[in-house]
Amino acid sequence: MISVSKLLCDLDAEGDGLRYDAADGSSKPQISRVKQRRPVVVWNLTKRCNLHCSHCYAAADTEVAPGELSTAEGKRLLDDLSDYGVPVVLFSGGEPLVRDDLFELIRYADDRGIRPVLSTNGTLITDESAERLRDAGLRYAGISVDGLPERNDEFRGKSGAFDAAVRGIRACLDAGLKTGLRYTITERNASDLRGVVELLRNEGVDRFCFYHLDYGGRGADITDLDLSPEAKRAAVKELCDLTRTYHRRGEEIETLLVGNYADAAYLIEYARRYIGSDAADRVHSYLRRNGGDPTGERVADVDYQGNVHLTQFWQGYSLGNVRDRPFSAIWDAESNPVLRRLRERTDHLTGRCADCRYQDICRGGSRLRALTVHDDLFAPDPQCYLRDEEIAPSSPPETSAD
């Protein structure tokens, strides 16, 4: 995750310690005082979902899928994650609210010292369930909206889904839960970005996470729905501009980018062009501490059947299964050549990523996109939108970042 508001507007957030090793300088209570050593674990509690979104990486279904980890198994998984030192579990799906034991599992995670957060389509959240989530110890609810009403409903395969998600957002905010937007940027909805931020800002939302499309699950069929690199660049620039406009007005919205670490390089270029070279240096130094794309290191995924994946988007390959081996052992097993090579990926990157001057803060972007498009784990990320002159190992160009 790259925090645009932290990097460009110096807005403190509770993830500063976790992400940038910058807890001491932050005015906000911190998720962690030290930069994370263990991964944030996404747990897809279920494959069931009440919606049918075209970009769903979990290829979720309305039918119950066999093999879901039970409540007791889930608790044993949380025990292992807690003993291993996992800082955060993101309860995800499918739609996690279709499971009746969600509240119990959130409470259990919280009791074991893991920070429980939730990823949901929001449409099943009522006033009562929002209060139950809060009382169980939930720290954050990320609610997916993927465009202005008509576009969102088309994307999500259900009319009324936008209004239902906004009702869910209101319920969470009324219950005093920290609540934010999750928005997957595609060719279809990039033009709605500004409108959605304005609309949800008026509802009281102050945290906005923008996801680039990764090419796993149902998303693999819609690679052609992804923005072109130039359009992606324009969308990220718009988000940077928007964030700065809000901050100039004194409205401290938190904006984040997920799923394409070329964004890190772009933010430095943007800061240099529009704010100044000191700002660019400051942004660069934060990003060095962040450490680039987290796949196989700072993020992990456990699916509903207990298979362990490199990220939540990489469902086609599993490192092992928690029913026959603890997560901690699977994650530490560098005898797995894919895991080992990914962790030393800067030695193996090829093409433009091999010589890129931003390699230390990006680390080659998405290896899953490279694999899907080029059949090569270490080929360049096809969605890198940095220009050749920007990534050249020599000194930075004077004019860019438009």
Binding site: N307, Y317, R323
Partner: protein, 99 residues
């Protein structure tokens, strides 16, 4: 007296989310043992082999794929509700073949 571990047989849970699941084994050098390196999702053995090749071709000498449903897992450490302890003998009965 031979020290014997308590080993459980993991329940026969489905491992197939969208497509079939295939366990992958690779042999790095000709004289090495096969090593289990995870599993891939694919509709057939040939596609599973293709997927695994993209991940391991640069590394492996041999590559085997095996349907996950054909693999019965016995482990000392499981969180599985359906796991069953497999009773072994006491360890001091006479062996058929002495080493």
């Amino acid at each position: 007296m031979v020290e014997k571990p308590d080993r459980y047989r993991v329940g026969e849970h489905p491992r197939e989310a969208v497509e079939h699941e295939w366990e992958i084994f690779v042999r790095e050098e000709e004289r090495d043992p096969l090593r289990h390196v995870g599993s891939v999702s694919a509709p057939s053995a040939d596609v599973a082999y293709e997927q695994a090749t993209k991940l391991f071709a640069w590394y492996a000498n041999d590559l085997w794929v095996c349907p996950a449903r054909a693999v019965h897992r016995y482990t000392t450490d499981t969180l599985d509700d359906d796991a069953e302890l497999v009773e072994l003998g006491s360890g001091d009965e006479k062996r058929t073949h002495e080493p």
